[in-house]
Protein backbone atom coordinates (compact mmCIF):
# COMPACT_ATOMS: atom_id res chain seq x y z
CA UNK A 1 0.00 0.00 0.00
CA UNK A 2 1.20 3.46 -0.85
CA UNK A 3 1.47 5.56 2.29
CA UNK A 4 3.63 8.68 2.16
CA UNK A 5 2.33 10.10 5.43
CA UNK A 6 4.86 10.26 8.22
CA UNK A 7 4.24 11.09 11.85
CA UNK A 8 7.22 13.07 13.06
CA UNK A 9 8.94 16.06 11.58
CA UNK A 10 12.32 14.35 12.01
CA UNK A 11 11.11 11.37 10.03
CA UNK A 12 9.77 13.81 7.45
CA UNK A 13 13.06 15.62 6.94
CA UNK A 14 14.95 12.32 6.97
CA UNK A 15 18.64 12.05 6.17
CA UNK A 16 20.06 15.05 4.34
CA UNK A 17 23.77 15.00 3.56
CA UNK A 18 26.23 17.81 4.00
CA UNK A 19 26.57 19.55 0.66
CA UNK A 20 23.00 18.74 -0.39
CA UNK A 21 21.04 21.02 -2.71
CA UNK A 22 17.70 21.95 -1.17
CA UNK A 23 14.77 23.60 -2.95
CA UNK A 24 12.53 25.65 -0.70
CA UNK A 25 9.06 26.67 -1.89
CA UNK A 26 7.79 30.15 -1.18
CA UNK A 27 7.58 33.72 -2.38
CA UNK A 28 7.92 36.48 0.20
CA UNK A 29 6.60 34.84 3.37
CA UNK A 30 3.88 32.87 1.56
CA UNK A 31 4.15 29.16 0.90
CA UNK A 32 7.32 28.50 2.90
CA UNK A 33 7.67 25.17 4.73
CA UNK A 34 8.87 26.73 7.98
CA UNK A 35 8.41 23.52 9.97
CA UNK A 36 10.56 21.53 7.57
CA UNK A 37 13.18 24.27 7.47
CA UNK A 38 13.38 24.18 11.26
CA UNK A 39 13.72 20.42 11.09
CA UNK A 40 16.51 20.78 8.55
CA UNK A 41 18.31 23.15 10.94
CA UNK A 42 17.95 20.65 13.75
CA UNK A 43 19.00 17.77 11.51
CA UNK A 44 22.34 19.50 11.15
CA UNK A 45 23.33 19.27 7.48
CA UNK A 46 25.98 21.81 6.46
CA UNK A 47 27.37 23.33 3.26
CA UNK A 48 23.89 23.40 1.77
CA UNK A 49 23.00 24.93 -1.57
CA UNK A 50 19.61 26.62 -1.21
CA UNK A 51 17.36 27.13 -4.26
CA UNK A 52 14.53 29.53 -3.46
CA UNK A 53 13.05 32.77 -4.70
CA UNK A 54 14.21 34.72 -1.64
CA UNK A 55 16.97 34.20 0.90
CA UNK A 56 15.02 34.49 4.12
CA UNK A 57 14.07 37.41 6.34
CA UNK A 58 14.32 38.01 10.08
CA UNK A 59 15.24 34.94 12.08
CA UNK A 60 13.07 32.44 10.20
CA UNK A 61 13.45 29.73 7.60
CA UNK A 62 16.43 30.13 5.31
CA UNK A 63 17.61 33.15 7.34
CA UNK A 64 18.11 30.83 10.33
CA UNK A 65 20.12 28.40 8.20
CA UNK A 66 22.29 31.31 7.03
CA UNK A 67 22.73 32.55 10.59
CA UNK A 68 23.85 29.09 11.72
CA UNK A 69 26.44 28.81 8.93
CA UNK A 70 24.70 25.93 7.20
CA UNK A 71 24.59 27.49 3.74
CA UNK A 72 27.40 27.50 1.20
CA UNK A 73 25.47 28.84 -1.78
CA UNK A 74 22.17 30.49 -2.60
CA UNK A 75 20.53 30.24 -6.02
CA UNK A 76 17.66 32.71 -6.14
CA UNK A 77 16.10 35.70 -7.87
CA UNK A 78 15.50 38.15 -5.03
CA UNK A 79 17.76 37.55 -2.06
CA UNK A 80 17.67 41.13 -0.75
CA UNK A 81 14.43 42.05 0.96
CA UNK A 82 13.56 44.24 3.93
CA UNK A 83 14.81 42.15 6.85
CA UNK A 84 17.14 39.84 4.90
CA UNK A 85 19.85 40.65 7.42
CA UNK A 86 21.45 37.20 7.65
CA UNK A 87 21.72 36.88 3.90
CA UNK A 88 23.25 40.36 3.67
CA UNK A 89 25.70 39.65 6.49
CA UNK A 90 26.91 36.34 5.06
CA UNK A 91 27.12 37.90 1.58
CA UNK A 92 29.24 40.81 2.84
CA UNK A 93 31.48 38.36 4.69
CA UNK A 94 31.87 36.46 1.40
CA UNK A 95 30.81 33.38 3.38
CA UNK A 96 28.33 32.32 0.71
CA UNK A 97 28.18 32.12 -3.06
CA UNK A 98 25.24 33.73 -4.82
CA UNK A 99 23.86 32.68 -8.19
CA UNK A 100 21.35 35.33 -9.17
CA UNK A 101 18.75 34.10 -11.67
CA UNK A 102 15.83 36.07 -13.14
CA UNK A 103 12.69 34.76 -11.49
CA UNK A 104 11.04 33.39 -14.63
CA UNK A 105 14.27 31.69 -15.62
CA UNK A 106 14.56 30.20 -12.13
CA UNK A 107 11.02 28.82 -12.41
CA UNK A 108 11.58 27.51 -15.93
CA UNK A 109 14.91 25.89 -15.08
CA UNK A 110 13.23 24.05 -12.21
CA UNK A 111 10.37 22.97 -14.48
CA UNK A 112 12.85 21.83 -17.15
CA UNK A 113 14.62 19.59 -14.63
CA UNK A 114 11.31 18.08 -13.56
CA UNK A 115 10.21 17.56 -17.16
CA UNK A 116 13.43 15.91 -18.35
CA UNK A 117 14.52 18.65 -20.76
CA UNK A 118 18.18 19.37 -21.46
CA UNK A 119 17.79 23.13 -21.51
CA UNK A 120 15.87 25.93 -23.20
CA UNK A 121 16.24 29.33 -24.82
CA UNK A 122 14.62 32.26 -23.01
CA UNK A 123 14.50 35.91 -24.10
CA UNK A 124 14.77 36.99 -20.46
CA UNK A 125 18.09 38.56 -19.60
CA UNK A 126 19.36 38.71 -23.18
CA UNK A 127 21.76 41.63 -23.51
CA UNK A 128 22.12 41.99 -19.72
CA UNK A 129 24.82 41.25 -17.17
CA UNK A 130 23.00 38.11 -16.07
CA UNK A 131 23.61 36.58 -19.50
CA UNK A 132 27.36 37.10 -19.27
CA UNK A 133 29.27 33.91 -19.91
CA UNK A 134 26.14 32.16 -21.10
CA UNK A 135 25.49 30.82 -24.56
CA UNK A 136 23.17 33.13 -26.49
CA UNK A 137 21.53 32.84 -29.86
CA UNK A 138 19.41 34.99 -32.13
CA UNK A 139 16.54 32.93 -33.54
CA UNK A 140 14.14 34.53 -36.02
CA UNK A 141 15.40 37.93 -34.98
CA UNK A 142 14.92 37.49 -31.23
CA UNK A 143 17.84 37.17 -28.85
CA UNK A 144 17.76 34.28 -26.41
CA UNK A 145 19.88 33.02 -23.53
CA UNK A 146 20.45 29.26 -23.20
CA UNK A 147 19.55 28.03 -19.74
CA UNK A 148 20.12 24.61 -18.16
CA UNK A 149 17.75 22.64 -15.96
CA UNK A 150 18.05 23.08 -12.20
CA UNK A 151 17.46 20.01 -10.03
CA UNK A 152 17.91 19.39 -6.32
CA UNK A 153 18.50 16.58 -3.87
CA UNK A 154 15.60 17.63 -1.69
CA UNK A 155 12.53 19.87 -2.05
CA UNK A 156 10.73 21.26 0.98
CA UNK A 157 7.16 22.22 0.14
CA UNK A 158 4.24 23.79 1.93
CA UNK A 159 0.73 22.80 0.85
CA UNK A 160 -2.68 23.08 2.42
CA UNK A 161 -3.96 19.50 2.07
CA UNK A 162 -2.38 16.18 1.20
CA UNK A 163 -3.36 12.51 1.13
CA UNK A 164 -1.51 9.22 1.57
CA UNK A 165 -0.64 9.05 -2.14
CA UNK A 166 1.03 12.45 -1.79
CA UNK A 167 -1.50 14.42 -3.80
CA UNK A 168 -1.37 18.09 -2.83
CA UNK A 169 -3.46 21.23 -3.10
CA UNK A 170 -2.31 24.69 -2.08
CA UNK A 171 -3.93 27.81 -0.64
CA UNK A 172 -4.07 30.97 -2.79
CA UNK A 173 -0.63 32.42 -3.65
CA UNK A 174 1.14 29.97 -1.32
CA UNK A 175 1.19 27.80 -4.44
CA UNK A 176 4.03 29.80 -6.10
CA UNK A 177 7.19 27.68 -6.58
CA UNK A 178 5.92 24.63 -4.68
CA UNK A 179 4.34 22.66 -7.57
CA UNK A 180 7.36 23.01 -9.85
CA UNK A 181 9.88 22.20 -7.11
CA UNK A 182 7.80 19.08 -6.43
CA UNK A 183 8.87 17.78 -9.84
CA UNK A 184 12.58 18.59 -9.69
CA UNK A 185 14.09 16.98 -6.60
CA UNK A 186 15.21 13.45 -5.78
CA UNK A 187 13.39 13.55 -2.44
CA UNK A 188 10.26 15.67 -2.14
CA UNK A 189 8.77 16.43 1.26
CA UNK A 190 5.63 18.46 1.96
CA UNK A 191 4.22 19.89 5.14
CA UNK A 192 0.45 20.31 4.98
CA UNK A 193 -2.03 21.82 7.36
CA UNK A 194 -4.38 18.89 6.86
CA UNK A 195 -4.08 15.25 5.85
CA UNK A 196 -7.25 14.10 4.13
CA UNK A 197 -8.59 10.67 3.20
CA UNK A 198 -7.60 9.26 -0.16
CA UNK A 199 -10.35 10.34 -2.56
CA UNK A 200 -11.21 13.52 -0.65
CA UNK A 201 -9.27 15.69 -3.11
CA UNK A 202 -11.09 16.30 -6.39
CA UNK A 203 -8.95 14.76 -9.18
CA UNK A 204 -9.79 17.81 -11.32
CA UNK A 205 -8.27 20.11 -8.68
CA UNK A 206 -5.18 18.24 -7.53
CA UNK A 207 -2.30 20.60 -8.29
CA UNK A 208 0.60 18.28 -7.47
CA UNK A 209 -0.11 14.63 -8.27
CA UNK A 210 1.30 12.29 -5.65
CA UNK A 211 3.76 10.72 -8.09
CA UNK A 212 6.18 13.53 -7.26
CA UNK A 213 6.00 13.16 -3.49
CA UNK A 214 8.05 11.07 -1.08
CA UNK A 215 6.81 12.19 2.33
CA UNK A 216 3.90 14.23 3.67
CA UNK A 217 3.48 15.49 7.23
CA UNK A 218 0.66 17.34 8.93
CA UNK A 219 1.84 20.41 10.86
CA UNK A 220 0.53 23.56 12.47
CA UNK A 221 1.08 26.19 9.82
CA UNK A 222 3.47 28.98 10.68
CA UNK A 223 3.07 32.51 9.35
CA UNK A 224 5.67 35.21 9.83
Amino acid sequence: MVNKIVDSINEAIGPISDGATVMCGGFGSSGIAFNLLDALLEQGARELTIIANNAGVGETGVAKLLREHRVAKVICSYPRSPGSIWFERRYEERAIDLELVPQGTLAERIRAAGAGLGGFYTPTGYGTELAKGKRTEVIDGVGYVFERPLAADVALLKASQGDRWGNLVYHTTARNFNPIMATAATTVIAEVSEIVELGALDPESVVTPGIFLDRVIEVDQVFV
Partner: protein
Protein backbone atom coordinates in the same frame (compact mmCIF):
# COMPACT_ATOMS: atom_id res chain seq x y z
CA UNK B 1 8.75 -25.93 -26.69
CA UNK B 2 6.76 -24.14 -24.02
CA UNK B 3 5.19 -21.02 -25.48
CA UNK B 4 3.41 -18.68 -23.09
CA UNK B 5 0.13 -17.20 -24.27
CA UNK B 6 -0.06 -13.39 -24.38
CA UNK B 7 -1.98 -13.60 -21.11
CA UNK B 8 0.77 -15.71 -19.53
CA UNK B 9 3.43 -13.27 -20.72
CA UNK B 10 1.47 -10.39 -19.22
CA UNK B 11 1.00 -12.34 -15.98
CA UNK B 12 4.74 -13.07 -15.76
CA UNK B 13 5.54 -9.40 -16.30
CA UNK B 14 2.97 -8.42 -13.66
CA UNK B 15 4.96 -10.37 -11.04
CA UNK B 16 7.71 -7.75 -11.41
CA UNK B 17 5.45 -4.72 -10.83
CA UNK B 18 6.10 -3.89 -7.16
CA UNK B 19 3.68 -2.44 -4.64
CA UNK B 20 3.49 1.33 -4.96
CA UNK B 21 4.87 1.49 -8.48
CA UNK B 22 3.84 4.22 -10.96
CA UNK B 23 3.30 2.36 -14.20
CA UNK B 24 2.44 3.26 -17.77
CA UNK B 25 1.09 0.41 -19.87
CA UNK B 26 1.34 0.75 -23.64
CA UNK B 27 -1.37 0.00 -26.16
CA UNK B 28 -2.23 -3.70 -26.78
CA UNK B 29 -0.72 -6.61 -24.82
CA UNK B 30 0.83 -4.35 -22.17
CA UNK B 31 -2.67 -3.25 -21.10
CA UNK B 32 -3.28 -6.86 -20.02
CA UNK B 33 -0.54 -6.60 -17.36
CA UNK B 34 -2.88 -4.66 -15.03
CA UNK B 35 -5.21 -7.68 -14.83
CA UNK B 36 -2.48 -9.88 -13.35
CA UNK B 37 -0.75 -7.79 -10.69
CA UNK B 38 -0.78 -9.90 -7.52
CA UNK B 39 -3.43 -9.05 -4.93
CA UNK B 40 -2.31 -6.70 -2.18
CA UNK B 41 -0.11 -4.57 -4.41
CA UNK B 42 -1.30 -1.00 -4.93
CA UNK B 43 -0.15 0.11 -8.36
CA UNK B 44 -0.83 3.61 -9.70
CA UNK B 45 -1.37 3.72 -13.44
CA UNK B 46 -0.46 6.66 -15.67
CA UNK B 47 -1.90 7.29 -19.10
CA UNK B 48 -0.28 9.75 -21.49
CA UNK B 49 -3.54 11.64 -22.07
CA UNK B 50 -3.32 13.22 -18.64
CA UNK B 51 -4.42 10.89 -15.88
CA UNK B 52 -2.87 9.12 -12.91
CA UNK B 53 -4.65 6.59 -10.71
CA UNK B 54 -7.22 5.20 -13.06
CA UNK B 55 -8.99 1.92 -12.41
CA UNK B 56 -10.75 -0.81 -14.29
CA UNK B 57 -13.13 -0.56 -17.22
CA UNK B 58 -16.53 0.91 -16.31
CA UNK B 59 -19.70 -1.17 -16.09
CA UNK B 60 -21.49 -1.03 -19.43
CA UNK B 61 -23.81 1.97 -19.46
CA UNK B 62 -21.80 3.92 -16.91
CA UNK B 63 -19.06 5.13 -19.26
CA UNK B 64 -17.94 8.76 -19.08
CA UNK B 65 -17.38 9.53 -22.79
CA UNK B 66 -14.58 11.98 -21.96
CA UNK B 67 -12.70 9.55 -19.69
CA UNK B 68 -10.41 7.29 -21.69
CA UNK B 69 -6.91 5.83 -21.61
CA UNK B 70 -4.20 6.00 -24.28
CA UNK B 71 -5.80 3.07 -26.10
CA UNK B 72 -9.04 5.12 -26.27
CA UNK B 73 -10.79 2.64 -23.98
CA UNK B 74 -13.20 3.89 -21.33
CA UNK B 75 -11.76 3.84 -17.82
CA UNK B 76 -12.80 4.68 -14.28
CA UNK B 77 -10.95 6.59 -11.59
CA UNK B 78 -9.55 5.26 -8.32
CA UNK B 79 -9.72 7.41 -5.18
CA UNK B 80 -6.52 9.46 -5.20
CA UNK B 81 -6.36 9.95 -8.96
CA UNK B 82 -5.57 13.21 -10.71
CA UNK B 83 -5.98 14.86 -14.10
CA UNK B 84 -3.43 17.11 -15.81
CA UNK B 85 -2.69 18.41 -19.29
CA UNK B 86 -0.57 16.80 -21.99
CA UNK B 87 2.60 18.84 -21.37
CA UNK B 88 2.55 17.94 -17.68
CA UNK B 89 1.77 14.32 -18.56
CA UNK B 90 4.81 14.00 -20.82
CA UNK B 91 6.93 15.94 -18.35
CA UNK B 92 6.18 13.12 -15.92
CA UNK B 93 7.49 10.60 -18.44
CA UNK B 94 10.57 12.41 -19.68
CA UNK B 95 11.40 13.62 -16.16
CA UNK B 96 11.87 10.05 -14.94
CA UNK B 97 8.89 10.01 -12.61
CA UNK B 98 7.27 6.88 -14.06
CA UNK B 99 8.83 3.79 -12.46
CA UNK B 100 7.94 1.30 -15.16
CA UNK B 101 6.77 1.60 -18.74
CA UNK B 102 5.59 -1.57 -20.45
CA UNK B 103 5.62 -1.53 -24.25
CA UNK B 104 5.25 -3.89 -27.17
CA UNK B 105 8.00 -4.23 -29.78
CA UNK B 106 8.76 -5.01 -33.42
CA UNK B 107 12.44 -5.47 -32.63
CA UNK B 108 14.75 -5.19 -29.63
CA UNK B 109 18.52 -5.02 -30.13
CA UNK B 110 21.13 -6.48 -27.80
CA UNK B 111 22.14 -2.94 -26.76
CA UNK B 112 18.59 -2.08 -25.67
CA UNK B 113 17.52 -0.27 -28.83
CA UNK B 114 13.78 -0.52 -29.37
CA UNK B 115 11.80 -0.41 -32.62
CA UNK B 116 8.03 -0.40 -32.19
CA UNK B 117 6.52 2.54 -34.05
CA UNK B 118 7.20 2.07 -37.75
CA UNK B 119 7.86 -0.81 -40.10
CA UNK B 120 9.33 1.71 -42.52
CA UNK B 121 6.46 1.13 -44.96
CA UNK B 122 6.20 3.69 -47.75
CA UNK B 123 2.53 2.98 -48.34
CA UNK B 124 1.18 3.23 -44.86
CA UNK B 125 1.17 6.63 -43.12
CA UNK B 126 3.37 6.64 -39.99
CA UNK B 127 2.15 7.31 -36.43
CA UNK B 128 4.34 7.65 -33.37
CA UNK B 129 2.11 8.95 -30.58
CA UNK B 130 3.81 8.75 -27.18
CA UNK B 131 6.05 5.76 -27.98
CA UNK B 132 9.31 7.71 -28.16
CA UNK B 133 8.60 9.63 -24.96
CA UNK B 134 7.67 6.44 -23.12
CA UNK B 135 10.81 4.75 -24.40
CA UNK B 136 13.11 7.50 -23.21
CA UNK B 137 11.53 8.54 -19.93
CA UNK B 138 10.61 5.70 -17.60
CA UNK B 139 13.08 4.51 -14.94
CA UNK B 140 12.64 0.97 -16.29
CA UNK B 141 11.32 -0.01 -19.70
CA UNK B 142 9.85 -3.50 -19.90
CA UNK B 143 8.99 -4.96 -23.28
CA UNK B 144 6.44 -7.72 -23.62
CA UNK B 145 6.32 -9.45 -26.97
CA UNK B 146 6.32 -12.74 -28.77
CA UNK B 147 9.87 -13.99 -29.20
CA UNK B 148 9.60 -14.02 -33.00
CA UNK B 149 7.57 -12.47 -35.75
CA UNK B 150 4.72 -14.56 -37.15
CA UNK B 151 7.02 -15.82 -39.90
CA UNK B 152 9.50 -17.05 -37.30
CA UNK B 153 12.15 -14.36 -37.83
CA UNK B 154 13.66 -13.11 -34.57
CA UNK B 155 12.46 -9.97 -32.85
CA UNK B 156 15.53 -10.00 -30.60
CA UNK B 157 18.35 -8.95 -32.89
CA UNK B 158 21.92 -7.70 -32.98
CA UNK B 159 20.82 -4.41 -34.50
CA UNK B 160 17.31 -3.17 -35.32
CA UNK B 161 16.45 -2.97 -39.02
CA UNK B 162 13.20 -1.13 -38.37
CA UNK B 163 13.28 2.58 -37.50
CA UNK B 164 14.17 3.11 -33.83
CA UNK B 165 11.78 4.28 -31.15
CA UNK B 166 14.65 4.88 -28.76
CA UNK B 167 18.33 4.02 -28.44
CA UNK B 168 19.51 1.89 -25.47
CA UNK B 169 16.22 2.18 -23.62
CA UNK B 170 14.99 -1.36 -22.85
CA UNK B 171 15.65 -2.88 -19.40
CA UNK B 172 13.94 -6.27 -19.62
CA UNK B 173 12.07 -8.37 -22.18
CA UNK B 174 9.23 -10.79 -21.43
CA UNK B 175 8.60 -13.14 -24.35
CA UNK B 176 6.60 -16.31 -24.81
CA UNK B 177 9.85 -18.27 -24.35
CA UNK B 178 11.90 -16.48 -21.70
CA UNK B 179 12.63 -13.45 -19.55
CA UNK B 180 15.72 -11.62 -20.75
CA UNK B 181 17.58 -8.58 -19.39
CA UNK B 182 19.56 -6.09 -21.42
CA UNK B 183 23.04 -5.89 -19.93
CA UNK B 184 26.32 -4.31 -20.95
CA UNK B 185 27.14 -7.70 -22.45
CA UNK B 186 23.88 -8.00 -24.36
CA UNK B 187 20.91 -10.31 -23.88
CA UNK B 188 21.11 -12.02 -20.48
CA UNK B 189 18.57 -14.80 -19.94
CA UNK B 190 16.98 -14.51 -16.50
CA UNK B 191 14.67 -17.45 -16.76
CA UNK B 192 13.29 -19.77 -19.40
CA UNK B 193 9.67 -20.83 -19.40
CA UNK B 194 9.00 -24.49 -18.56
CA UNK B 195 11.67 -26.80 -19.93
CA UNK B 196 12.83 -24.61 -22.78
CA UNK B 197 16.55 -24.97 -23.31
CA UNK B 198 18.99 -22.20 -24.04
CA UNK B 199 19.78 -23.81 -27.40
CA UNK B 200 16.15 -23.88 -28.46
CA UNK B 201 15.59 -20.26 -27.49
CA UNK B 202 18.93 -19.22 -29.00
CA UNK B 203 17.88 -20.63 -32.38
CA UNK B 204 14.90 -18.26 -32.43
CA UNK B 205 17.00 -15.27 -31.37
CA UNK B 206 19.02 -12.98 -33.67
CA UNK B 207 21.86 -12.28 -31.24
CA UNK B 208 23.81 -14.19 -28.63
CA UNK B 209 21.99 -15.10 -25.40
CA UNK B 210 23.97 -15.24 -22.18
CA UNK B 211 22.88 -18.22 -20.06
CA UNK B 212 21.07 -17.64 -16.76
CA UNK B 213 23.38 -17.37 -13.75
Amino acid sequence: MIRFTPEQIAARCAQDIPDGAYVNLGIGMPTEVANHVPAGREVIYHSENGVLGFGTAPEPGTEDPDLINASKQYITMQPGGAFFHQADSFGMMRGGHIDISVLGAFQIAANGDLANWSTGSEIYPPAVGGAMDLAVGAKQLFVITRHTHKDGTPKLVERCSYPLTGASVVSRIYTDLAVIDITDNGFQVIEMHGENSLDEVQQLTGARLLPPA
